[in-house]
Symmetry: C2
Subunit: 517 residues, 2 copies
Amino acid sequence: MNRRDLLTLSSAGAIGALASTSAFSQLVPKTASSGQTTHQYDVFELRLEGPASGNPYLDCTLAATFTLGNRSVTVDGFYDGGTTYKIRFMPDTPGQWNYTVTTNFATSVRSGEMTCLPAQHGAHGPVRVANGHHFSHADGTPYFPFGTTCYAWTHQGDTLEEQTLASLKASPFNKIRMCLFPKSYQYNHNEPVFYPFARPAGTTLTQPGDITRFDPAYWAHLEQRLAQLRDLNIQADLILFHPYDRWGFASMPAEADDRYVRYLVARLAAFSNVWWSLANEFDLMKSKSTTDFTRLLRLVQQVDPYQHLRSIHYSKYMYDYGSLLVTHASLQTYEFAKAAEWLAEWRKPVVFDEAMYEGNLNSRWGNLSGEEMTRRFWLGVIAGCYVTHGETFFPQPGSAPEDVIWWAKGGTLHGTSPARIGFLRTLLESIAPHGLEAAAEPYYLHATSNSAILYYFDFHQPAEYEVPLGDGVYTAQVVDPWAMTTTSLPGTFTGKAKLPLPGKPYSALLFRHANPG
Amino acid sequence: MNRRDLLTLSSAGAIGALASTSAFSQLVPKTASSGQTTHQYDVFELRLEGPASGNPYLDCTLAATFTLGNRSVTVDGFYDGGTTYKIRFMPDTPGQWNYTVTTNFATSVRSGEMTCLPAQHGAHGPVRVANGHHFSHADGTPYFPFGTTCYAWTHQGDTLEEQTLASLKASPFNKIRMCLFPKSYQYNHNEPVFYPFARPAGTTLTQPGDITRFDPAYWAHLEQRLAQLRDLNIQADLILFHPYDRWGFASMPAEADDRYVRYLVARLAAFSNVWWSLANEFDLMKSKSTTDFTRLLRLVQQVDPYQHLRSIHYSKYMYDYGSLLVTHASLQTYEFAKAAEWLAEWRKPVVFDEAMYEGNLNSRWGNLSGEEMTRRFWLGVIAGCYVTHGETFFPQPGSAPEDVIWWAKGGTLHGTSPARIGFLRTLLESIAPHGLEAAAEPYYLHATSNSAILYYFDFHQPAEYEVPLGDGVYTAQVVDPWAMTTTSLPGTFTGKAKLPLPGKPYSALLFRHANPG
């Protein structure tokens, strides 16, 4: 997992020795001694010294403009406590970059050079919208989101967080929905280890702390986790605001929200694997209006030099996903039959980010069978969209600390759907490098790619089916999404081809071009 | 099954010996010799002689007015071939009825008396709308439609038709959707045994025959089947028009349609178990408009002395079920989530008459698993509505004649859903004499009756659930709709009661008042 550097310490002589207490100290790159060098899509970090007096979070501004040929990218820096200021940059192009620093305070670092080497193996860059309804990495590598949900996993302490990372590594998931603020909700009553803001003496458990001062330890910890996710090829779908709050993070004034957004973008945007989800269930946040979130989306759009994916998640009242402020839809619904309409109207990817969870909780959204969770992934994919997993089993007595449920805290996975979701992901990646598009005919659910046609029969169980294949010549496989098997049918098929089927529900049928061009 | 007389031959002396070639001859009532007597809800029949010349179907009219005290009911008679004319009447009240016959031809029968005895055991009279969204027989006995579908079963000949009747007798079904006209469709290519209209020499297989003359043999055969259904306590949901036609029955001129409607109502309305379904998939009938069906519904409303249940079934474009011309909605959909809205808007019962069929055909509507068919019955019932079954398995090789599929021709049932549908019917009848009303809360699906609360968890699988029971005191049973078991939980429950549940999907939970008033 150390296939790339987390941070490239640069200008080390100029910054001098830093008394770092952050988790970064565990991750000091092996190439620190190589100087002003980084790799494409990695984080290049400048460290500057500056004033510690007053409130640098409010008083001090810094930025750097990186140029390569005629191109320039300006990134904001941030105060990191003590006398430390940082500027992070993720170069997307190899070559010799020059940079110029501007601050409103005295600093010895004003300009320099950085050599960007080609991406290290496994680093494909940020995920972008591609092919209309789909995604790819910046280098063109297809990316199909098969996400999961661990809202508060970075607030649980190292033991559980490392268990979560181990579970993710063994799972099929390549995206995780996670909240920056800690969470207060059923099964979520513990205090977090770190708080985003400084907590002066006297701060109570129902106060956010000093919302004019961030706590560098919180952010360093979060960044450690983001880097670990990135090295697992997992996109961090960061939820910036959410309603499940007892500290006051959900009801800060607008200027504090804006400062928080600017700060987190300055710190985190250089991580190639971040996505911005402005809120979870924004419509349940009583202290904010839709207009507030539109303002915040616009702010993120304005300050993010990399234009990471942006969306916002609702509970009941959908955000206007036609807006150019969101790059994709992040839905809470299982109305897969409406997907075609939404795709046509919004002309961007649609992710069913909450289609309920596998589990057995006493909550309507938290007790799907593994079979139903699996079915929903298939329904989403066959509609040309994507689906996100979550798991909400009551903790097994004696087997884990009280109330450790994957959907909130991470830990270990117990359900039957992840293996099947992995099977689907592998299948999709093998047949649809540019994504699947739902077919227009309102008959059996099916979708097509350049090289394949995939039918999903849902609750239908035909004993045979005459498939209108047209002029193409195809091989055919019967797919069992639950048994995770594919069974080839002999011969090839073309025109109106009648095929025998298993005669049981939830089967699929895959056609591949017999002679792909 | 001979618990009541099919027909009471009356005025036998006046009519004289009839050369009957109809199937009725098999069913001549044992009480024929008792004279002018019948039972409540049975068919009382007057036979008259009249002209055989010209075209009596067009030329001759006859009717009778039956009076009991200050009440009078006028029923139309019909020509039955040869010199035979008949008038049928179903008395709904015991007592001494007087009748007066009017004709436009000479006949010896002008008036008489009939004694109506109380209903024989098992005869409860026609089904009516009751309690808003539900049904009951005329005598107040609750009726919950658990129907099935055998569109063309009366067109298959005696061997298969008697097999169908035996299958129905052993089944849980108490309503059958069936077409008067023969059917031409996939798996339905055989000619019928009987045609509704006379077929003069030279009539081809794509002609309806002489649409000004009915064929009494067809009608006598149909009436035999209706009587047999009635004696099995099965409602005959008669479909008067349908689009699956190669003979021209679907495209007759309006005056022929009207004459057909008047004739069939005169013949069939005295059967207590008939319902009028003006059409199957009316919106697929290219030769008729919605206005035509509104006219035909109004005609049935006008000529039916008993106001049997009336509806009309669509394929894609819903009829206006808010219209007073229909007594209940006959839907083709499985959008059970919309039921509450429809019930509130239409204020009448809603029957999901086609929610797809259990089977394995190569047709989207014909290959549900038994589990899914069962689930749809539960979803309908828990929404305060009703659902109709159908079965569409490919014929087992060697086990039945080619293309004998229950949904069209009857025969035998092969699916796994009928037993479960029977279990639900028995359960519903035991808890909800006035029907179930869906609860308003949009949480888990549940419905209430005067004496019980029934939850259905669908794809949810909570390991426990806190039920808001309010002030009532209830016993509780966990219901397994598939295993067809009920398991009592110890004790009683009231207020907010947390109950353990099986933690598997498609479970139900039944609360009964512990001390029913």
